[in-house]
């Protein structure tokens, strides 16, 4: 198996006023291609900071991140954006869909951004339909987010993240706002995507049942990965 995400001795310190607040204190992590990984830990332990660093939304204070053999930390902001566009899909706890666009419109927007200047602007309608069918959303294609339930919205958000077939999906508590039934549907979909398209998934969760569906669980506390005891290989 090939390592697709590699974080080496990551440190991140936020400056709030005149106070330095360390969020990550030397995190080292390797994720293999096609792996489904859960990151768990108490609030404020640095999970989201780690996810944002891996997605290139933040830059570390020190340390190195490699995504699919591209050094994220040595890249400019524009280059990081480009790597994110080509290789990474995000799923958020609060769905973050565009409220003015339909489900199909949200997917098309992601396709257009993914295509960059090389796209024809139309995207791949067949692929969108296939992804929405897989997520049992075919009949919601032309619905706007406010016309859908929370579970449906999160499934659209997942569809948006996978429609461009990114190598890596970063999910920040994707079931945090869902009931048990919808959580199960979304997690099953993650597994399906992981199995069907061999996409690498790194998911933050507080839910042990959600974590149990992953192949590996990483425990964090106080800005560090607790190793090796809490790193569970399933």
């Amino acid at each position: 198996m090939r390592t697709i995400v590699k974080a080496e001795n990551l440190e991140k310190t936020y400056r709030i006023g005149s106070v330095d607040v360390p969020a990550l204190r030397g995190v080292t992590l390797e994720v293999e291609e096609g792996e489904f990984l859960a990151i768990m830990g108490p609030s404020g332990c640095g999970k989201s900071t780690l996810l944002h660093l891996l997605g290139g939304l933040l830059t570390p204070t020190s340390g190195r991140i490699t995504i699919d053999d591209e050094d994220l930390t040595a890249s400019s902001d524009a280059r990081r954006t480009d790597i994110r566009r080509r290789k990474i899909g995000f799923v958020f706890q609060r769905f973050n869909l565009f409220p003015t666009l339909t489900a199909d419109g949200n997917l098309r927007l992601a396709e257009r951004i993914h295509a960059g200047s090389g796209g024809n602007g139309m995207g791949d309608a067949e692929r969108r339909r296939e992804v929405l069918r897989l997520l049992q959303l075919e009949d919601k294609m032309h619905h706007k987010p406010l016309e859908m339930s929370g579970g449906e919205q999160q499934r659209v958000a997942l569809a948006r993240a996978v429609v461009t077939r990114p190598a890596i999906i970063l999910a920040d508590e994707p079931t945090g706002n869902l009931d048990t039934e919808n959580s199960a549907i979304v997690l099953n979909m993650f597994q399906e995507m992981n199995f069907r398209f061999n996409q690498t998934i790194i998911m933050i969760t507080h839910n042990p049942e959600a974590a149990a569906m992953c192949r590996r669980i990483v425990q964090m506390r106080d800005g560090q990965i607790i190793a090796p005891i809490a790193t569970i290989q399933i």
Binding site: G55, T81, N96, F98, L109
Partner: protein, 365 residues
């Protein structure tokens, strides 16, 4: 990208409408004022070009086309007639007052009708020439605009009532004419006039005759009517400066309104901008989304602005008789102001959005 832009505009219709109105206002200001200036200037020029006289004879310091000065003695008429090459000399008083409808201005001329009409090939089409001190003749355009005719009345010099005794054609100089004596009586300027129109026996002899007049009657001002007609726009004091200031203000109004609208939009959509960044949208893409929205709003503003300008111009012309003439140059300038103002106004909010921190934007409430 356009469906996102269209959806954003549809989401906040009132704000979009206010922005469209802002751009439309800028376009209207430019179109109406330049249309009016051009229309009135061309109208004056058309009427002045019907004058057959080659020379204007005035006192130094009096203005030519926009004057109410009555400081030239009519004794010069006889002296001018004696000069070799002069066919006719006709004294004219030109009086300018505010229009009766409180908008624009009105020109009235006092002339010896027979001599003036003979010099300028004018004729009475209905009624007769003015004789008494309370009689006037008007041209066909004035009669049509005021929906009046022979037998009607017209208020001049405030609230003095004058009877319309004739309608003349073609239009030349002021649209209302009374006898020179009547005007001198009204203004209490006996034996005075504003200028004397001089017609030469040979059209090409204007310069030679002007030199003879200058030699015979030194210290006065002699001008060629052709030069005055060409410079009518320049003869209206600071018209160019006024129009340029107006264009500048219009651009500022359009840019400020769009900037304010887009700035509010950015603040409201901070979270969405964070999502765009998370999806991998480049700074250029984010700027393009916001700029496209501003350009769509500006284009709508242009359509509304031009439509309102044409309708308003038509209505003002119908009600007040003011002439509007729109030119392509000013229309292009107005369009550039609307589009440029909108695009420039949106640039700062767009750049601010593009530079937002993605994580902060995603956590924005």
């Amino acid at each position: 990208m356009l469906d996102l832009v269209a959806a954003n505009i549809r989401q906040r219709p009132v704000r979009a409408l206010v922005s469209v109105a802002g751009v439309a206002l800028g376009v209207c200001l430019v179109m109406l004022f330049t249309g009016l200036a051009r229309g009135m200037s061309n109208d004056l020029q058309r009427r002045s070009s019907n004058m057959r006289a080659e020379l204007f004879f005035t006192r130094p310091g009096s203005k030519e086309m926009m004057t109410s000065t009555v400081n030239l003695s009519t004794k010069y008429v006889e002296e001018l007639r004696k000069i070799e090459g002069v066919e006719a000399a006709v004294p004219v008083i030109r009086y300018i007052s505010q229009g009766n409808r409180g908008f624009g201005y009105e020109q009235i001329e006092g002339v010896d009708w027979a001599a003036y009409a003979s010099m300028n090939n004018m004729r009475i089409v209905r009624g007769r020439a003015p004789e008494a001190v309370d009689e006037v003749v008007i041209d066909e355009t004035k009669a049509r605009n005021n929906k009046t005719d022979v037998g009607g009345e017209i208020q001049i010099f405030g609230n003095r009532s004058y009877r319309i005794v004739g309608i003349y054609t073609p239009e030349s100089g002021a649209r209302i004419k009374m006898s020179l004596a009547a005007m001198q009586d009204a203004l209490e300027t006996q034996d005075k006039c504003s200028y004397i129109l001089v017609k030469c026996k040979n059209t090409g002899e204007g310069r030679v005759v002007a030199e003879r007049i200058d030699a015979a009657l030194p210290g006065n001002k002699i001008q060629f009517t052709s030069e005055i007609i060409l410079n009518i726009e320049k003869s209206i004091p600071y018209l160019g400066v006024f129009l340029k200031t107006l264009v500048g203000l219009s651009a500022i109004v359009s840019a400020l309104v769009v900037m304010l609208a887009m700035y509010t939009t950015i603040t409201e959509r901070t979270r969405e901008i964070g999502v765009l960044k998370a999806l991998g949208a480049s700074r250029g893409y984010i700027i393009a989304v916001i700029e496209q929205e501003a350009i769509v709003i500006s284009l709508l503003g242009l359509v509304v602005g031009f439509t309102v300008s044409f309708v308003a111009g038509f209505l003002i012309q119908r009600v007040y008789g003011l002439v509007f003439e729109y030119g392509w140059t000013w229309a292009v300038i107005a369009a550039l102001i609307g589009l440029g103002g909108g695009a420039l106004g949106a640039l700062y909010p767009a750049m601010r959005a593009a530079n937002l921190d993605a994580v902060s934007a995603l956590s924005y409430e």
